[in-house]
């Protein structure tokens, strides 16, 4: 409480342009590895400041320092011109710095208002609900951010949860809000809403820090930028005077060649065939509403089939059914030329499948286990790395090192727990694992989410190379531009139905968008 006696919502809106947060020479080391190298960062009140950089550049680490999760080894932090030192997240929050978490910190079984009330109460036995209601109304009048107090969080969409998370921070007096790759979980529409929200917060005098790998987002909302490269600041300035090329150069050190258009492929026989697939939304209620209805799809050898659609159109259900994690009501699936009726993840992989799950953190990695164990998560369990139940640990870690090299997974050592890698590098490790087995069918759900431009480009080229080798790819993405540029054919999924399949050459944002909103007769 010594940190900022004068902090709190009362100071909200104090002028714009004055320095809100200033970092000077902040250095953070993990062992001999320098994650942040003498970073200077200047954030002003009333601005949206983009923090850019490659995967592993140290953005998240820097923000963890700002929010008191890590203490810096060197350097100082000034808030409103006064030096501060946070030893715990609570200190930073009390001083008005809040982080909007990727993995939301909400309790789904409580209402939105009740979630707000899990905040500091003046006295423990007082009912926090009235206080929370008053605060949330204050926030609503100040910023226009409204919540639905009596709705269960479980019933709220991802975008609505994110808004509640922001309101929660504002209610606790946050004046500097940090967003670490916020759009990763959002559909494009929800991103537009969030962008508006950030602008409103900035107009109201708050300071907003945005970490994003999507330059389109940065150019649409940010006022200024700072670029980190290998832990050090490589440039900063105003967005109005910057070009995407310039920012990319600052991030990766040189210009990026334009992505060549997808060469025409020569598709072979079908690897995956889906016939009139019906899937219930709730496993336990087969008679209830359907998540997928009458799905007919074919993915052929040497082809990338994109599935376009807004989030929640049935994409995750489709993946789960194909994997055998979720049962289907009816329909037939063929994988690699054989009926795939008794489905389970094991059989899926044995039949030559591979998957990059959408929810990387929960479904794809074991954070506490080492990088090499995660990279060989599946290959370690079969020959030659597994001989009669005994593991060839040395060969496995050598294999992991080889793949780290090939897929540019940056980490000090393969023995690090994968949870310590930067988000993008975790993802590259998953990619390495799934592509290394040379699968017949790769299901890739949002494969470039959270990746920097160079890594995204690398994924694109890996998928194309995989296609060239005769592999099939089922690409699921909510980003229309991404689907159009990365697929041979595009199936549009809306409300659990395939609304149409379009050759990528003929696909545009407009005609895909039209299919998404059409009522379903398109086939």
């Amino acid at each position: 409480m010594k940190t900022r006696p004068d902090s709190g919502p009362a100071r909200r809106g104090t002028g714009t342009g004055a320095s809100a947060l200033r970092l000077t020479g902040v250095t953070k080391r993990f062992g001999s590895f320098v994650a942040n190298d003498a970073v200077d960062l200047d954030i002003a009140w009333g601005e949206i400041h983009a923090l850019l950089g490659e995967n592993g550049a140290g953005k998240t680490t820097l923000m963890r320092i700002v929010t008191g999760l890590y203490t810096p080894d060197e350097g100082g932090i000034e808030l409103d011109g006064e030096p501060v030192r946070f030893r715990k997240p609570e200190h930073a929050l009390r001083a008005g710095i809040g982080m909007v978490h990727q993995h939301f910190t909400l309790v789904p079984t409580l209402t939105e208002l009740e979630n707000l009330a899990i905040a500091p109460a003046a006295v423990p036995w007082r009912n926090g609900l009235t206080e929370a209601r008053r605060r949330s109304q204050e926030v609503a009048t100040a910023t226009g951010l409204r919540i639905t107090p009596d709705r269960l969080v479980a019933d709220a969409s991802v975008g609505e949860r994110q808004r509640l998370e922001i309101v929660k921070l504002l209610c606790r007096g946050a004046r500097i809000l940090i967003f670490d790759e916020p759009s990763a979980a959002l559909s494009p529409g929800e991103w537009d809403e969030l962008a508006n929200l950030m602008r409103r917060l900035a107009a109201d005098g708050h300071a907003v820090i945005l970490i994003s790998h999507k330059l389109s987002e940065v150019f649409s909302v940010a006022d200024r930028y700072t670029v980190l490269r290998r832990g050090a600041v490589s440039g900063s300035g105003t967005i109005a005077e910057a070009t995407p090329d310039h920012l990319v150069t600052l991030m990766v050190g040189d210009r990026m060649a334009d992505r060549p258009p997808l060469p025409a492929g020569t598709p072979g026989p079908a690897v995956l065939t889906i016939r009139s697939l019906d899937v219930a939304r709730d496993d336990n209620q087969p008679a209830g509403p359907k998540a997928l209805q009458g799905i007919d799809l074919e993915v052929r050898r040497g082809e990338i089939l994109g599935i376009a659609g807004v989030a929640g159109s049935g994409q995750s259900e489709l993946v789960e059914v194909l994997m055998g994690i979720r049962p289907a009501l009816s329909g037939a699936i063929e994988l690699a030329g054989r009926p795939f009726t008794h489905r389970s993840p094991r059989r899926f992989f044995r039949a030559g499948g591979a998957v990059i799950p959408e929810d990387r953190h929960h479904a794809a990695i074991v954070p506490g286990m080492t990088l090499w164990e995660n990279i060989t998560l599946r290959s370690l369990r079969s020959a030659p790395l597994n001989r009669q139940g005994l593991l060839d640990v040395r060969a496995a870690s050598a294999e992991a090192r080889r793949l780290m090299n090939e897929f540019d997974v940056r980490a000090d050592s393969e023995n690090l727990p994968i949870g310590r890698l930067s988000g993008g590098n975790q993802q590259k490790a998953v990619l390495a694992r799934e592509l290394s087995g040379n699968p017949a069918l790769l299901i890739a759900a949002q494969p470039v989410r959270g990746l920097d431009v160079r890594a995204a480009d690398f994924v694109y080229r890996s998928l194309v190379a995989h296609r060239e080798r005769g592999g099939a790819v089922l690409l699921i993405s909510m980003d229309l531009d991404e689907v159009i540029s990365m697929s041979d054919r595009i199936a549009v999924l809306a409300h659990g139905r395939i609304q149409g399949v379009v050759e990528a050459a003929k696909a545009t944002r407009a005609n895909l968008g039209a299919l998404m909103t059409s009522s379903g007769e398109a086939l």
Partner: protein
């Protein structure tokens, strides 16, 4: 950073040991015993003579076996506390088999008894595993309840089918000499059973099982992230069941060891003697490291044996040893909290973030009151 962590950890462990000693000394002074006398009695009672050292080491074996079972289940992400019941089940079955082994050659009898113990414990744990896997009953609840059942069953069997003492005591007949596990003959009293080789062998076996076998790998993946296990073709339920059953096997073997390498060559109803729960403490004290558990098992065993010795020589209540063990457990938990707050590994940071809302409630309330 890593080495700093390690130093911190060592410091905390030394701190725990010193604090435990201080607590012990305070207790001794409080009941009017001079600490040097007590220390002397303790030392001679535990390691001072070959006989006593043999007892200490032999009694560490069941503790370690239980601890290894606990370590395996926690690695698979499960948590059960059914060790006392599994010891009783394993011990009862081992007794039933052992009593029939009189005419068999020694090695065969020993192996048969060990298998019976393992089987009994595994079966008992299998009930817990089955209830969890097929009925969704939390293993910690069912195992706790099955402990109570096992106590009743053991009570009944030493009064019924296994009862065999001539004066009608609730205990079995004396085990045939061929069934008793061999011990080192040169040590007076023959207190050092050869089963102490299980200390290093089992600890290393568990280390290798976890780090070098496909089974152990699957177990760790299932325990590390259930969802990721499922998505990569590992059935976390199967692995959890396997871990629970194996841990029951370890506890059952501990039961057999308690009886056939113990001081009394018969089964009575109280033979479990708290080993089931103390074994958990042994694992926690070793921070779930199998090799570390060897050391902590010996320490725990020494506290037991030394407590008895102090009681005999100085008239100290033997419950002092239990109090000391309790103090050690509490101190270890405190140390774990201290370490958790200090080291900021991302997982710790992340769980701190997850708990943030909860933490803020308290700190906020405190500051605003102040």
């Amino acid at each position: 950073m890593l080495s700093k962590d390690l130093i911190m950890r060592l410091l905390v462990q030394v701190g725990v040991a010193l604090a435990a000693l201080a607590v012990g000394a305070l207790l001794l002074v409080a009941i009017g015993v001079a600490p040097p006398d007590a220390l002397h009695a303790f030392w001679s009672g535990t390691f001072g003579t070959p006989t006593n050292a043999g007892t200490t080491l032999t009694q560490a074996v069941p503790l370690l076996l239980v601890a290894l079972g606990w370590i395996l289940t926690t690695r698979a992400g499960r948590l059960h506390v059914g060790f006392p019941g599994q010891i009783l089940a394993g011990g009862s079955l081992a007794t039933a088999v052992g009593l029939q082994c009189g005419s068999l050659p020694g090695p065969v009898a020993v192996v048969l008894i060990a298998i019976a113990g393992i089987g009994g414990g595994a079966l008992w744990a299998g009930l817990t595993a089955w209830l969890w896997a097929s009925r969704g009953v939390l293993e910690i609840v069912s195992s706790l309840l099955l402990n109570l059942v096992a106590i009743q069953v053991a009570d009944w069997s030493v009064r019924g089918p296994l009862q065999g003492s001539l004066d009608g005591q609730p205990q079995s007949a004396n085990f045939p000499a061929a069934a008793l596990w061999p011990s080192v003959e040169s040590i007076p009293g023959r207190t050092l059973s050869y089963d102490v080789v299980l200390l290093p062998v089992c600890a290393i076996a568990v280390v290798l099982l976890l780090s070098r076998t496909a089974f152990g790998f699957r177990l760790r993946v299932a325990g590390g992230n259930q969802e990721a296990a499922r998505w990569s073709g590992i059935d976390p339920v199967r692995e959890g069941v396997a871990a629970i059953v194996i841990s029951g096997g370890f506890a059952g073997l501990a039961g057999a060891a308690l009886l056939f390498a113990g001081s009394a060559p018969w089964m009575s109803d109280g033979f479990e003697a708290g080993v089931g729960f103390n074994g958990i403490a042994v694992a926690l004290l070793a921070r779930n490291s199998p090799v570390g558990a060897v050391a902590t098992a010996v320490v725990f065993s020494a506290l037991n044996v030394g407590g008895t010795a102090m009681q005999a020589q100085l008239d100290v209540p033997s419950s002092l040893a239990s109090v000391l063990q309790g103090a050690v457990i509490v101190l270890v938990l405190v140390a774990a909290v201290v370490l958790h707050g200090r080291t900021r590994t991302p997982s710790a940071a992340k769980s701190a973030a997850r708990r943030r809302s909860g933490v803020v409630v308290h700190s906020g309330a405190r500051t605003e009151e102040a």
